[in-house]
Amino acid sequence: MRAVPVAIVSILIGAGVGAASAYWSVGFPNSEADIAALRDDVPAAELNFPKFEVDSMTYDFGAMQRGTTKEHAFKVTNNGTKPLVLENLGTTCKCTAFKLPPKPILPGESGDVELTWIAKSLPGQFRQTATLGTSDPRSRRVELTVEGVVTDVSGVEPKEWFFDKLHPGEQRTESVYVMSYNDDDMEILSAELDSDDVGDEFQVDLTKVTKDELPDAKAKSGYRVDVTPNKSLALGPIQQWVVLKTTIEGAEEFSVPIHGTAVGDIEIRGPSAWNDVIGAVHMGDIQSADGAQVRLFLSIKGDHTEGIVFDVAEKDPESLEIELGELKSTRSGAMVPLTVRVPKGLPAAIRNGTGQGEAGRVVLKTNHPLNPEISFGVRYVIKKPGVTR
C-alpha cells in the first residue's frame, strides 16, 4: 500500500469533516451585503435591513418599596427597510419580566418593550438585565437594564447587637436603632428574648429618640434598643434573638440577632481550622512528606495580663511541635502567638477524634491564678506518600 495516497485521502476526508463541522457550528459566512452592513460601509439608506434603535439602554426606577412592582416601556424604533422582529432571550432574574410588541415592528414605526420588575430583594441597590434578540444584523443581541434602590418600611442599624468577645463580669451595652421610613410616630410594643432559657441573661431597654439621632437621614421616627448582659455568660458562642413587635405597617414583628462570644480571661483564637465549641484545631489530611502547621493565638485580658507566662506541660503525641511566641500588648490586653506543627516525615496516623482515632492533645500551664492550665485538641490524619484518599 502506498503511504502517500493514503495520507492525501486521509487529509482530504479530515478537512472535509472539519469544514462540515465548522459550518454546522458557526454557520455559513455572511454575504457581501451583510458584511457591508456590519461594517457600516454602506449608507443606511441603501441597506435593506431592519435597524434597531432604542430610546435608552438603561432605566433607573429610583427608590422602590420592597414588595412593590414597577414597569417601564423602552421605546424601540425600526429605522430600517424591513420589519424588525424581536425575541425574548431571557432575564438575569425571574423578578424581571418583559413583554414584547405582539408583531414585528414595521419600517419607520415604533413599539414598546415593557419591563416589569418586582422588588423582592433586600434593601439596597439593584440592577437586572433583560436580553433581546433582534433581526437587525448589526444588533443581534441587545441588553436592556433596569436599576434602582430597594427600600423598606423599616430598618435596623446596625443589623445586630454584636458583642465580639465578652469577658466574665464585663459590663457592656450594645445598641441598635429601629427605624420607620413611613411612619412619623412609630412605637415598639415589646422587645423580648426569643428563648425561655436565657430570659434573665440580657436586659433589653427601649428609648424613643428624635429623628436627628437616627443613623439614616431618610428615617422618620425610631427607637434605640440597648442590650446589656445581666451576668456572666457561659463560655462559648452567643447566638440569641430579640423579637420586636412594632406599630410599623408591614413590619409588625421581626427578630434581630445578638451575636458574640463569651470568653474567659485566656482564650485560644484561631483561623477556620480552630473550633471554639469543641476546643480543638482541625488540621485535616496531611501528607507525611509535607507536614503542616497552624498559627493560633492566646488572647489574654483582665487583671492578670501583665507578667503572664505560658509553658507546654504535655503533648500527645510527643511528636507534635508547639511553639510559643513573645507576649505582645494590644489595645485590650495581650496576645501570645502559638504555633502547632505536625512535622514532616511522621508515619501514617489517624488522630481526628472520630471512631478511627483519638484526637491529639496539648496542655499548657500558666501562672494565671484562676486558669493555671489550658488544654486543647489537635485533630489530623497523616497519610503515607502516594495516598490521597
Binding site: K120, G124, Q125, F126, Q128, T131, E174, S195, Q239, V277
Partner: protein, 556 residues
C-alpha cells in the same frame, strides 16, 4: 508471501486500530477505574412502612447529572448570558475585580447548575484560561466574603481566603461581616497574605497582618491599589476588639502619597461601600482611575459609569460572586481600555483545584460533626422547639392514617431531599446550610436544628426527607394522643389535631396581587423556597401542578 509483505498490508489496519480503538479503551478503563474508586454514597432508609408501600426513587435534578457527568447542557450559556471578550486582542494587562461574595463558594441562582452563576470552580477556570492565552492578570477583591456569623462562617471565611490566594489574588479588602469573625487568625495563617485596607488595621496598622497599600508590576505596567471599609461598615465595626480604624477619607489621604511616590501607571481604589460613597471618595481623590464599589447593584452594568467629578471609571462587582469584571489595558492603539462583565456560568468548567477546596471544606464539616456526634460544633446548641407539638416523630408515623397524603408526599421532590445531598459530589449532608432545608426538624433560616431534630442518617433515619412536620409542625403530641401512648381528653386530641392543620386562604400566594401577608402556608414554604435558593418559586403554580404534585388534604 513473505512476512515482510504481510507486515506492509497490515500497517493501515494497525494504524486505524491505534487511532480509533486505543483512546476508546483508555477512556473506558480510566473511567471505570475512577467510578470504582468513588465511594458508594450511604443508603437512605425510609422505614418499612414507606418501603413496603411506596418507592422513593432518588432524584437529582437532571441538569445536575448531565453537567456533573460531563454531558451536554441544554441551556447554551453564551446564548443565555452573552459572548465575552468579543474582538479583544490580548491586553498588555488585565485587571480583574470581584467582591461581595456573601459566602457563595458555589454557584447561585435559579435551580439547576445551567441557570446558576458564580462559584470558585468557574472563576479559577476563567483565570486559568486567560493566563493560558498569555494574559497577565492582577486580581483584586473588594471584600464581603461572608454574610453569616458563627463557626461555619469562620470556616467558610478561611476557605474563601485559601481559594483566593490559590487563584493568585493580589488584594482582598475587608467587609464588615468578615471582620466580625476572627480575621486576625486567618491573616496569621495566610501565606502569601493579600489582605489590604488603608483604614482598618488588625491589632494595628503596622502589626503586619495586612497592608495599607500595595503596588504590583506586571508586564512593565505598575498598578497601585488600596482598599477602604465604608462608613456603614465602620459603624458596624466599632464594637469589634483588636481592630484599629480610621475614616476612609483620612486613611486614603495618608496612603495616596506612597502610591504616588511609586509612580504607578494605574491607581485602583477598592471601596467596601455603595455607589454613592465610592463616587464621593473618587471626587475627593481623582488620582484613582479605577474605583470599585463593593456593595453596588446585584449585577455589574453592561458598560461602566464614568464618574463626572473625577473622570474615574466606576466598577461595580455585583453580588454573590456571580460575575467578575475584567478591564483590559492596551499600551498601544485604541481604545486603551476595554471593559467586560463576565458571567460565571457553565461555559467555564469546574477547576479541579477549587473542587478539591470544596472537598476539604465538606470534609472539615464532616469531621467536626462526626467527632462530636452532633452538629453543635457548627450550629451551637439546638434551638428550642416551636411552642406546639411536643417533639418530632418523622413522616413515617403519619403514613397509617394519612396514607393518601403520604403517597403524594413520597412521589414529590420533598421525599428525595436528603438523598439529593448525599449523592452530590462531594456529599453535603454534614453541611448545616444545606441540611436545614433537606431534613426534618431544622430551622431553615437559622441553619440550626431544633431540639430533637435530625441528627444523622444513622441516629435519626426517621427524620430524613423534607418531611411532613417541617410544614405542619412537630407531631409527637398528636401521634401519642391518637395512638393512645398518652392519656388525652377529647378536647386535647382535637387541639393536637388543630395544631397541625394548615389552611390555605383565598388567593394565597407570593406573586404580585396575591395574598401573602394572610397566608401562613406560603410563608412557611418560603422559609426554604427563598430568593437565594428558589427565586422562581410561585406558590400557586407549585401547589396546583400535575407533575410531582404536592397538593394534599386531610385524612384518608
Amino acid at each position: 508471501m513473505t512476512m515482510h509483505h504481510v507486515g506492509r498490508r497490515s500497517r493501515p489496519l494497525m494504524f486505524g486500530l491505534l487511532v480509533f480503538f486505543v483512546p476508546m479503551w483508555a477512556t473506558l478503563v480510566i473511567g471505570s477505574r475512577a467510578a470504582s474508586e468513588s465511594p458508594e454514597p450511604p443508603k437512605i432508609h425510609v422505614g418499612p412502612r414507606f418501603e413496603a408501600r411506596f418507592v422513593a426513587k432518588p432524584r437529582i435534578p437532571v441538569s445536575g447529572i448531565r453537567l456533573a457527568a460531563g454531558g451536554t447542557p441544554q441551556v447554551d450559556p453564551i446564548e443565555a448570558n452573552g459572548p465575552i471578550f468579543v474582538e479583544w486582542p490580548k491586553p498588555d494587562l488585565a485587571l480583574m475585580f470581584t467582591g461581595e461574595q456573601m459566602g457563595f463558594l458555589e454557584p447561585c441562582g435559579c435551580a439547576g447548575l445551567e441557570n446558576q452563576k458564580g462559584g470558585f470552580k468557574r472563576r479559577m477556570t476563567l483565570m486559568k484560561e486567560l493566563r493560558g492565552l498569555g494574559w497577565p492578570i492582577i486580581a483584586m477583591d473588594a471584600g464581603g466574603l461572608v454574610r453569616r456569623y458563627g463557626p461555619q462562617a469562620q470556616i467558610k471565611l478561611g476557605r474563601s481566603l485559601e481559594g483566593l490566594v490559590e487563584m493568585g489574588y493580589e488584594a482582598i479588602g475587608f467587609g464588615d461581616k468578615d471582620l466580625r469573625l476572627d480575621m486576625l487568625s486567618e491573616a496569621a495563617n495566610l501565606d502569601p497574605n493579600p489582605l489590604l485596607s488603608a483604614n482598618v488595621g488588625l491589632v494595628d496598622f503596622d502589626a503586619g497582618f495586612s497592608r495599607r497599600y500595595h503596588v504590583v508590576e506586571e508586564n512593565d505596567i505598575k498598578v497601585g491599589m488600596t482598599a477602604v471599609l465604608g462608613e456603614e461598615g465602620l459603624a458596624a465595626a466599632k464594637s469589634m476588639r483588636d481592630l484599629v480604624t480610621l475614616p476612609a477619607e483620612q486613611a486614603i489621604a495618608e496612603v495616596l502619597p506612597e502610591l504616588e511616590a511609586a509612580k504607578c501607571d494605574e491607581l485602583v481604589l477598592l471601596v467596601y461601600g455603595d455607589v454613592d460613597e465610592a463616587k464621593d471618595l473618587s471626587a475627593k481623590f481623582p488620582k484613582f482611575r479605577w474605583v470599585v464599589a463593593g456593595t453596588g447593584g446585584d449585577e455589574p452594568p453592561i458598560q461602566p459609569e464614568q464618574i463626572a467629578e473625577s473622570g474615574a471609571t466606576l466598577i461595580e462587582v455585583g453580588h454573590k460572586g456571580m460575575y467578575a469584571v475584567v478591564v483590559g489595558i492596551y499600551e498601544q492603539g485604541s481604545p486603551k481600555y476595554r471593559y467586560q462583565k463576565v458571567p460565571m456560568d457553565h461555559r467555564f468548567e469546574d477547576a479541579p483545584e477549587m473542587k478539591q477546596l470544596l472537598v476539604r471544606y465538606q470534609d472539615q464539616l464532616k469531621t467536626l460533626v462526626t467527632a462530636a456526634g452532633s452538629f453543635e460544633p457548627l450550629t451551637g446548641k439546638p434551638m428550642r422547639l416551636p411552642k406546639q407539638g411536643g417533639g418530632w416523630v418523622g413522616s413515617e408515623a403519619c403514613a397509617d392514617c394519612h396514607s393518601t397524603a403520604c403517597e403524594i408526599f413520597m412521589h414529590s421532590p420533598h421525599a428525595h431531599a436528603t438523598t439529593t445531598l448525599v449523592e452530590l459530589d462531594p456529599p453535603r449532608h454534614f453541611d448545616p446550610e444545606c441540611l436545614s432545608c433537606h431534613v426534618t426538624g431544622w430551622n431553615p433560616q437559622a441553619y440550626a436544628p431544633y431540639v430533637g431534630g435530625y441528627e444523622s442518617l444513622e441516629k435519626t433515619p426517621h427524620l430524613t426527607m423534607q418531611g411532613c412536620e417541617n410544614c405542619h409542625g412537630p407531631a409527637k403530641n398528636h401521634y401519642d394522643a391518637e395512638m393512645g401512648n398518652i392519656d388525652a381528653t377529647d378536647e386535647q386530641i382535637e387541639r393536637f389535631r388543630a395544631d397541625l392543620r394548615m389552611e390555605i386562604v383565598e388567593n394565597e400566594g407570593n406573586m404580585e396581587g396575591q395574598n401573602f401577608k394572610g397566608g401562613k402556608v406560603v410563608q412557611n414554604c418560603m422559609e426554604c423556597h427563598d430568593l437565594d435558593n428558589s427565586p422562581d418559586f410561585d406558590f400557586q403554580e407549585y401547589w396546583e401542578r400535575e407533575e410531582e404534585p404536592v397538593k394534599h388534604y386531610g385524612m384518608d
